[in-house]
């Protein structure tokens, strides 16, 4: 049976990048269908009518939307490097932190960005990120997944790579090394993983995009 895998989106989106990392981690061959979000394709609207967003994974014609749902799907369908732990409790922990990342960290970081680093917004973003810092401290491991990256690390890609790009683009500081030594160390290790390295967009592209989109006039 043909195993046709398409991914709609572009890697400048940290959410699309998650899916790309997972696909690369598992060594899955796929076609990247780049979407212009200001002019969405009929296919994207057909495959994700509810949100009309990327990423959308289309596997043998079947669409899966929402990046965390996509990550779990990829892990369940394809063997190889595991994305989620086997143990039910460890799995629950991973899901908890991934959800925390998306429900609390990302929105707080986003708010800090669009406010151009307004003090209160940055404080709230750092409050959320502090939980991640503490988790790494408690775990005492290289990655959220232990010796190897897992769902949580992949979900946190925006912390490892996107935060640095917006910091540079906007001249703000969100993740200072002295306040977040563990997250800083984790970021360096994470972006050097092969599957991650193979998936990240060029940093200067992101910086340019964010300068244009969020920079002060």
């Amino acid at each position: 049976m043909a195993n046709e895998v398409k991914l709609y989106g572009a890697t400048r989106s940290p959410f699309v990048c998650r899916a790309v990392i997972a696909l690369n981690l598992k060594g899955i061959k796929y076609e990247l269908v780049v979407e212009d979000l200001s002019n969405k394709s009929a296919d994207l609207i057909k495959y994700n009518p509810v949100y009309k967003k990327v990423p959308v994974l289309v596997h043998n014609g079947n669409p899966i939307s929402e990046s965390l749902v996509i990550l779990e799907y990829i892990d369940e369908v394809w063997n190889g490097v595991p994305i989620l732990p086997q143990d039910a409790y460890e799995k629950a922990q991973a899901r908890f932190w991934a959800k925390f990342m998306d429900d609390k960290c990302f929105p707080a970081v986003f708010k800090a960005v669009i406010s151009h680093g307004e003090e209160q917004a940055v404080a709230e973003a750092q409050e959320a990120l502090q939980f991640l810092e503490n988790e790494l401290k408690v775990k005492g491991s290289k990655f959220f997944g232990g010796d190897n990256i897992n769902l949580v690390d992949i979900t946190a890609t925006f912390v490892a790579f996107w935060i640095g790009a917006v910091e540079e683009a906007l001249g703000i500081e969100l993740l200072p090394k002295d306040k977040f030594p563990k997250l800083t160390e984790w970021s360096d290790n994470y972006v050097n993983c092969q599957a991650v390295k193979d998936s990240l967009p060029p940093r200067e592209n992101l910086v340019a995009i964010y300068k244009k989109r969020f920079g002060k006039a």
């Binding site: 899966i64 939307s65 996509i70 779990e72 799907y73 409790y89 799995k91 629950a92």
Partner: protein, 225 residues
């Protein structure tokens, strides 16, 4: 299979999902009721990040977030009726709709509920549009999970009780029988399930509680404008 405790409030629809799940699996558990105005030190220890209910404690280790707890229960007590399907695509679809409920349906309906006047009128539209999407999910099905009851019914189950409470105390009409015949039909079937029937919180208490909550939101909004 170990000692199970559930930290909950009497009224939380999220905690109710876990009550249903535990009962459906025939799991013996102890309930610890929390007063969210006066959280116990145990709750703060077990859920330091969110300080919320529900929290499931299994052999002394806590699991938080209702959707995470549901999957944990399903995977740990995996010999009795499974909530989630086996097929990865069906599982992904279920998880997508669970997220849609929690991210969009709940928030949009709540927004319509805790507002009044022009703000409420503006909020009703998106709430009903999200319910249109929910209605479509029932086409050709007995339950949200398909032929039989499952994970998505646990997720959407709050609709069967709390929407009625919101309608009664919020002065809004949400489930119009012409627009949402499938949701109404599902509601009857869902409420007929013995575990569901016996687990609803007290109706009068819910009405009082949500009435107060609505008044609080409205007066807070008025005070800050």
């Amino acid at each position: 299979m170990g000692e199970v405790k559930l930290f909950r409030t009497w009224s939380s629809p999220y905690a109710l999902r876990i009550v249903w799940a535990l009962k459906l699996k025939g799991i013996v558990y102890e309930t610890i009721y929390e007063d969210l105005a006066n959280k116990s030190s145990l709750l703060l220890e077990y859920n330091p990040v969110h300080k919320k209910v529900p929290v499931l404690l299994h052999n002394g280790t806590p699991i938080c977030e209702s959707l995470v707890i549901l999957e944990y229960i399903d995977e740990t007590w995996n010999t009795t009726a499974r909530f989630l399907p086996e097929d990865p695509l069906a599982r992904a679809t279920a998880r997508f709709w669970a997220k849609f409920n929690d991210d969009r349906v709940v928030t949009s309906i709540f927004r319509a509920y805790v507002t009044q006047g022009a703000e409420q009128e503006e909020a009703i539209g998106p709430a009903l549009e999200n319910l249109d999407i929910v209605e479509k999910q029932l086409i050709g099905k007995n339950f949200f999970s398909g032929e039989s009851f499952g994970f998505l019914d646990l997720v959407f189950g709050w609709i069967a009780k709390y929407l009625g409470i919101f309608e009664e105390t919020g002065g809004i009409k949400l489930i119009d029988e012409d627009r949402f015949p499938l949701i109404l039909a599902w509601k009857d079937k869902f409420c007929d399930i013995p575990v569901i029937k016996e687990s609803w919180p007290d109706q009068e208490k819910l009405i009082t509680k949500f009435q107060l909550m609505r008044e609080h939101f409205i007066s807070t909004a008025a005070g800050s404008s």
